[in-house]
Symmetry: C2
Subunit: 123 residues, 2 copies
């Protein structure tokens, strides 16, 4: 049915591992209906595979710490976080402190950046 609305799906590759990239390239080359993007071309979708080395140990964050972290990433102040989670500002500061420690960050901005970098949270 209507192949008119489905020309070709253009895919881009962003893969750290050269071996995996090569295999995928070879496999996808033989598929009708899609092709790989040439340099600079805008792709409909991108195949990504990050080097797993960036998150060696998935840092053990408690559920509460993840809650606080998520709200921190939204730019919420301790007071806002406290209200949102139904806990006291003191407790929020406690969790933020733990976060700074575990993420090896110097402040909340640094903590969010670190967490985003290693995929703990999605910006």
């Amino acid at each position: 049915m209507s192949e008119d609305n489905a020309p070709e799906i253009v895919l881009a590759l962003e893969i750290d591992d050269p071996a995996l990239a090569g295999r995928l390239e070879a496999l996808l080359a033989g598929v009708a209906g899609l092709r790989l993007a040439v340099s600079g071309e805008t792709a409909a979708a991108t195949i990504v595979a990050r080097d797993p080395r960036v998150m060696p140990d998935d840092i053990a964050l408690t559920q509460r710490e993840l809650d606080v972290l998520a709200l921190m990433a939204e730019g919420a102040s301790n007071k806002m976080i406290a209200r949102q989670l139904g806990i006291s500002v003191h407790t929020v500061k406690f969790h933020v402190g733990s976060l700074l420690d575990k993420l090896d960050a110097t402040g909340r901005t640094d903590a969010v950046a670190h967490a985003a970098r290693r995929g703990v949270i999605e910006l």
Copy 2:
């Protein structure tokens, strides 16, 4: 030894557009050597296609604001930024203020998050 004619490449799909997702699913289903991940499975690579998000006007940030923003993303304090750029803390606060205004952020953490989201900076 290396039977690296590896079994299958497991791919995950993260595509906003259902139509595109469906087409890709159909296309890739017929390719030997790779398969789609089942829910929760760890994939070797992920195919992503974000909604052509609104990055209408790449916000006009001055060079100095970009300098400050980059250091903010590293978790640097105003004092550190001042020292790094060879300017006074007051000037840093001035630029941070402009950044918060232009990025529609409530604080430096929010500013970094917004900037990262719309690709102004790379985390």
